[in-house]
Amino acid sequence: MSIDMSQFYQVFFEESAEHLASMESLLLALDLDAPDPDQLNAIFRAAHSIKGGSGTFGFNDMTEVTHILETLLDGIRKNEITIIADMVDAFLQAGDVLRDLLEGHQNGTIADPAASLEIRARLEQLTAEGSPGQKSGQAIAAIAGSAAPGATTKAPQPSAQHRYQIKFAKSPAIFPKKTDLSNLLDELSNIGKIENQKVAAKSVTLSLTSYASEAELRETFSFFLEPEQLTITSLGNSIPGSNAGSKDDAGYGFFVEPEAIKSEAEEAQGYGFFVEPEAIKSEAENAQGYGFFVEPEVVKSGVEDAQGYGFFVDVESKAKPLAPAAVQPEEPHRRAADKAPPAAAETSIRVSVEKVDQMINLVGELVITQSMLAEIASHLDPVLHENLISGLVLLERNTRELQESVMSVRMMPINFVFSRFPRLVRDLAGKLDKKVQLKMVGEGTELDKGLIEKISDPLTHLVRNSLDHGIEMPDERIAKGKDPQGTITLRAAHQGGNIVIQVVDDGAGLNRERILAKAHEKGIPVGDNMSDADVWQMIFAPGFSTAAVITDVSGRGVGMDVVKRNIEGLGGRVEIASKSGEGSTITIRLPLTLAILDGLSIAVGDQIYIVPLSFIIESLQPKAEDIKEISGQGQVIHVRGEYLPVIALHKVFGITPRVANPAEGILVLLEAEGKKVALFVDDLVGQHQVVIKSLETNYRKVVGVSGATIMGDGRVAMIMDVGALVKFAQA
């Protein structure tokens, strides 16, 4: 019977983290004036699930915090307590405390108990304040009664050990096998320390020192024994009538302290609800009957009703069926479940990223092999090999679909990054006394998981910057005739093979004069006739900050250069558009994935190179008269009113070309880092989707080359680093 629970810990940690995240996002989305019952239910369920899980795994510190949290939430969702902004703050704080506790358990360290005590006290106070002012009713009285006394006794000693004297009956009917008894004792020793164990013919007595509450002990026994065959006496703090209390205990509220239960029971009895002890007992059996074998996962899932009345039954929900007015309609439950993202988890599995990457690599190989076969088949006589060729066509389609679906496994909605910002903006705006609303557009846009992880820090930096430097103080905004509440918009969208992420604010915009002055001060060469785009790019220089005051939020001038470097490291670009007084837009362009790239293959001499399609504006066959020589500067080409420098790829890479005159070859117009160049190549070969391979695995970095790929014929082709080429043109 002794199950090693630690094997499920990881699942619990992950799920709880998800619940905390969803709770936080729901809390932030909550409209305080007219709270949506569905949302309140979803928040309640998240707290409830964490409580359930932590109770199952014996993380009592978490259970205690969530219990109070849940009590208050339950009052709110039943309209017994009116939600106020203070509560949302307290809930968010509780979420943080829980996250710390969770991390503590995960890393095997103990989180600071002071924080958890503090938040519990705060929640209890809010519960106490919130409830009495409301319309009086039996259920309310029960809640107030249950939460308050439990709170006062629990607060000073959050997880003190209890001593119990346990006596239970022993007979062949109860323990048919010898091992059954030893299993039970094993389980008890997992919970706490067993002393003075006496096994008599018909009964067993022992004393147990444990962190577990009496209810949890009963839970352990209930696998083996009927409640009446068991007597648990608490020695730690002698409570008159604790036996009676514990009898109720199993019935409602596994995680409620005996005191709470007792007072609840008294209240209830006072109103004539639980008059018959037998009735209570049967309640208990029922609850156990359908709650017991429910796995944590199932509890967590959308089966809210079973959850509500099943295993983790607590005082409030137990009282509910007896007070018909409080019964929740069925339908909102279901809708709420649809809304809450974690509810979908039951249809997903957790797979390590390594396994997915391995699959992606293998599919990449498959694609190469397939194109190799296609290449060979193209030389065969189509009449003689009709079947083979049609088979290969089928293979091509299947491999492409397989590749797409494998790639999509790695794709995640950008909401994973965006979801942290409501909290960040809220906290930061509060700290800076600014009024800011955050709008998010296109949270569902998907991109590679690897990119998601790497984009979050730069994006956080940009949002903080916008809030700190961009958005003005409310009175300043009013003076300018703007809405006192500033708006930051996070926008994500697919654009070709790229994902475009924008951070837009309607703040003051970048200050051209201030940037130029600062640049001058720093000794960066500036001219008054620089274009805006060039001026804005200067804020990416290391150590560049125009913030008048250095705050703990930003202004130290470390960051924008790092942001730019990080994003360029991912093969992306950062662009700034800003208008004084109207705000700024920072645009990040990233490839959808790091593993595959759309490229144009070009030929120079006997070599094939891949140019990432995202950098290409157009390709053209130049007319001889459009190409002009500039003495000592090389050639330029005149395209639609612009003069662009011509870079001969064969010169850059030291290859013998087939054509030396640009007028006989092809010019590929490229744009990178805000500059345009014309790349002179021998010929265009075709457009491919290529699997990016690192050169650095077995070799080293090569200037002008960002990676390599394997072509259909099995040869290696280099992928050009367009950014480096453009820099080369400037040098």
Partner: protein
């Protein structure tokens, strides 16, 4: 050969793959050798030293190819269907080297391995572990791993020192 192989297992001797570069015969630790294959379909790397011929696709892995004949100025530098590439697995990297020919696998005991005298060689002394004699042949035993990750070969990204 049988006796030699038996000896190899006891740890006193080491098994070496020998190859020729011009008139010289070199030996490298066979455990560093992944496979031997022909030379074809090499993609050149722009602006790399002349002895780095480029990279090949070895079952999906991009492997750089070094021509030892160019590096050590030995042998006839021709590429045909008989040109041999030894694929090495050194320092967690896969690298191919072009040699004139692969001759043998030999076992060399510690006694057979003599320290190399100071002599003028195109190969820096620090990469020579010693000289071995087998059947009247002299084999230069090379520390291939040390050589491959050295600054001389320029194969590995050097920390900015």
């Amino acid at each position: 050969m049988q006796a030699n192989e038996g000896q190899a297992a006891d740890g006193n001797s080491r098994e070496l793959l020998t190859f020729t570069l011009g008139n010289e015969e070199y030996g490298i630790d066979i455990l560093k050798v992944q496979e031997i294959r022909g030379y074809d379909a090499v993609t050149t790397i722009a602006n790399s030293p002349d002895f780095i011929k480029g990279v090949i696709n070895l079952r999906g892995i991009i492997v750089p190819i070094v021509d030892m004949r160019i590096k050590f100025k030995l042998g006839n530098i021709t590429y045909n269907e008989l040109t041999v590439v030894i694929i090495l697995n050194v320092a967690n990297r896969v690298v191919g080297i072009v040699v004139d020919g692969v001759s043998d696998v030999i076992a060399l005991t510690a006694e057979q391995l003599k320290p190399a005298p100071e002599f003028s060689s195109s190969l820096d002394m620090q990469y020579i572990m010693g000289l071995g004699t087998v059947d009247e042949r002299m084999i230069i035993v090379m520390d291939i791993e040390k050589l491959m990750i050295s600054r001389d070969m320029d194969l590995v990204e050097m920390a900015a020192a």
